[in-house]
Amino acid sequence: MVQLRLRPDLAIVVVCIGLYIGSAAQARSPLGGTALSVAVATIAAPAVAVGNAVGAAWQLFWTGQRDLRSTLAELRKLRLESAELRRNNQLLSAEVTALRQGSRLLAAYPSLAERSVLARVIARDLPRTHTLRLDRGSRDGIHVDGPVLGEGGLVGRVDQVLEHSCRVQLLSHPAAAAAAAVAGVQQEALLVGGDQPRLTGLSPYTQVPLDSPILSTGSEGIYPPGLVFGTTLEARNDGLFTVVPVRLAANAAEVTVVLVLAPTVRGAP
C-alpha cells in the first residue's frame, strides 16, 4: 500500500490550486438555488434575527435619546422665555406703578400741573450724597433750583441739570435749607437738612404742637408757599432757639415719580 505524505506547505498550495480550478468550473456553470444556499439561509436566519433585534433596540434607544434631548432643549427654551416674561412683567408693573403715582401727583396738585414737568427717578443715592437723579433735563424745561414735589410733599430742589437728566438735592442733604412755618405758630423758621432735618430759628420756649404740618413760606425764593415739608416731632430748646425735629412728608427712598416745578423768580412778589 502506498502512503502519500504531503508537506503542509505543499498541501495548501495544492488545495488552493484545486479551489481555483473548482472556482473556474463554477464560473463556467453557475448553480443557483442549491441545497447549500438553503442551508446557509437557514443557518443565517437566527444570527440575522439577533442582529435585527439589536439594531432595532439601538434605534429605539437612539430615537428616545434624541427625543429626550429635544425635550430638554425645549424645556430650557421655555424656561428662558418664562424668565424673560417674568422680567417684562416686573418692568410693566413698575411702569404701571409709576404711572399711577404720576397721575395721583397731578391730581393732588392741579394748580401746579401747568408749569411743572413730571419726571421719573432713575437713580438715587440717599446715604452718601442725598440726591436723586431724574430722567428729565434741560431739554424738557428743567432749570436749576426748580422745586421737586413728591406725592407726600416737597422732596428737594434741582441742583444740577444736564440735557437729558437732572440731579435733585434732597431736603435731607446737610446743605439743604428752606424757609418754613409750622401750622398754628406765627413765627417763620428755617428748615435745615442733615440726617435728622430740623426747624431752627424759633424763639426759645416756643410751643410747637406735635405732628403739626410744616409748610413752605417761599421766603428763600425757591419753594412756592403752602407746600408741605413734613410734620413736627417733639420740640426742644437748644441755646437761643427752639429746635424742632422734622419728619419729612415725602420718603425719598420710595418716591418713583416727582413733579418738577418751574423755579420761582427771586425777588418776585
Binding site: I12, V15, G22, S23, V48
Partner: protein, 167 residues
C-alpha cells in the same frame, strides 16, 4: 479549542452583521479574519494559512459567491499576516491593528485578483475593498482595546492592590 470557539462566534457575528436594522457599513466587517489574525500568535504561517483558507471558504459560502477565491484569499492573508507578525515581532494593539488591516487587504485584493483571472465580475469595487479594510481594522482596534482592558483587569498589580485594600 479557543480558536474553534472564536471561529464559531465570529461566524455568527459575521452573519448577524448583515441584519437590516444595523448600520449599513457593518456588513463590510469580516470578524472571521480576526480569528485568522488571532491564530498568527499560536501557529506557524502555514498553519495560519490553513485557518485563513477555512475562513475564506466559509465566507464564500455565507455570501453565496463562487466557492474558492475567498479560500485562496484567506490562505494568502493568513500566511502574509503570520509572516509579518513574526518578522516584526508585533505585540499588543499594533499586532491586532496591523494584522487586521493586512489580513483584510490581502484577502480582498487576492479575491479580486482571482476573480479577475477567472473572468468573473467582482461583486464589489475599490470602495468595497476600502470599506472592508476600514471596518475590519476598526474591529481589530476594538479587540485590541478589549484585550488591553482585560489584561489590566487581570493584572497581578491590580490583584495586589485589591489585597492591600482589604487588609
Amino acid at each position: 479549542m479557543k480558536l474553534a470557539v472564536a471561529f464559531v462566534v465570529a461566524l455568527l457575528l459575521q452573519l448577524g452583521l448583515t441584519a437590516s436594522h444595523l448600520w449599513w457599513v457593518l456588513p463590510a466587517c469580516q470578524p472571521l479574519l480576526l480569528v485568522v489574525v488571532a491564530a498568527a500568535r499560536r501557529l506557524d504561517p502555514v498553519g495560519v494559512a490553513w485557518y485563513g483558507l477555512a475562513a475564506g471558504l466559509v465566507s464564500d459560502v455565507l455570501s453565496q459567491r463562487i466557492i474558492g477565491p475567498g479560500g485562496i484569499g484567506g490562505a494568502v492573508a493568513g500566511f502574509v499576516v503570520a509572516s509579518v507578525v513574526r518578522r516584526f515581532e508585533m505585540e499588543g494593539p499594533l499586532y491586532w491593528i496591523v494584522g487586521s488591516l493586512l489580513a483584510s487587504a490581502c484577502s480582498d485584493l487576492t479575491w479580486m485578483l482571482v476573480a479577475a483571472t477567472l473572468g468573473v465580475q467582482p461583486d464589489h469595487g475599490l470602495s468595497g475593498v476600502l470599506a472592508t479594510v476600514a471596518m475590519t481594522g476598526a474591529a481589530g482596534l476594538a479587540v485590541a482595546a478589549a484585550e488591553r482592558a482585560l489584561r489590566a483587569w487581570q493584572s497581578p498589580a491590580r490583584r495586589r492592590r485589591r489585597v492591600l485594600r482589604r487588609l
